[in-house]
Amino acid sequence: AQSVTQLDSQVPVFEEAPVELRCNYSSSVSVYLFWYVQYPNQGLQLLLKYLSGSTLVKGINGFEAEFNKSQTSFHLRKPSVHISDTAEYFCAVSDWSGGYQKVTFGIGTKLQVIP
C-alpha cells in the first residue's frame, strides 16, 4: 500500500519570498511522484513529475521538486512566489501494482501568497 503525507495544511508566505511545500511518501514498490496544483474552483493541473533519473525535477511556473529516496520525500520549492501562485497543491504517488495505475493523493497544502 502507498501513502502520501503533506505535513503542512496551510502555508502563508509573502510575495517574492521562497517557499517549500513538504511531501513524504511510503510505498512498497517503485513509484512515480507528482505535484498537482488546483486553483479555486478549478481542476487538477500537473506541475511536475518524477519518474527516474535526475532527482531535481523542474516544472511549470518556476516550481521544482527534489526526490530524496533515503528520506522518502519529494518537497516542492519555488525561489520567489507570486500572488498568482495562491492555490492548493497536492502531492501524489502512483504505481502499477495490481495491474493498473493507482494514484494516491496527499491531503493538500493551501499556499497563500500575501502581498
Binding site: F34, G43, L44, L46, K49, G99, Q101, V103, G106
Partner: protein, 113 residues
C-alpha cells in the same frame, strides 16, 4: 495535445435523483478511473476500469455507484440515488499501457440539493 474531457462542468441535482457524469478519455488509453474530491478534502480513488470490467473499487464505491463504457469512447459514472454527501468534484482519468502517469480531466462539480 490529447486530453481527457468531462461533461458537464457543473451539475446540480435533487437528492434521490440519478446522475450520470460523462468522460471522454484519451483515445488510445486502456485504463480508466474515477476520483472524488469533497470540498476542502483530498482527492480520493473511487474505481478503476479495464477491459470492460472494474479492476478495483474503494469502499466509497458502494452499490449506488456504477461505471460503464457504453460505446468505446465514453466512460460514465452513474450515481443511482444521490445523497447530500455525494456533493463533490468528480475527476475522470485515463492511462495507456506502460504510461507513467494518469491523465486527469478538469472535473465535474456535482451539487446535490
Amino acid at each position: 495535445e490529447p486530453e481527457v474531457t468531462q461533461t458537464p462542468s457543473h451539475q446540480v441535482t435533487q437528492m434521490g435523483q440519478e446522475v450520470i457524469l460523462r468522460c471522454v478519455p484519451i483515445s488510445n488509453h486502456l485504463y480508466f478511473y474515477w476520483y472524488r474530491q469533497i470540498l476542502g478534502q483530498k482527492v480520493e480513488f473511487l474505481v478503476s476500469f479495464y477491459n470492460n470490467e472494474i479492476s478495483e473499487k474503494s469502499e466509497i464505491f458502494d452499490d449506488q455507484f456504477s461505471v460503464e463504457r457504453p460505446d468505446g469512447s465514453n466512460f460514465t459514472l452513474k450515481i443511482r440515488s444521490t445523497k447530500l454527501e455525494d456533493s463533490a468534484m468528480y475527476f475522470c482519468a485515463s492511462s495507456g499501457r506502460g504510461d507513467t502517469e494518469a491523465f486527469f480531466g478538469q472535473g465535474t462539480r456535482l451539487t446535490v440539493v
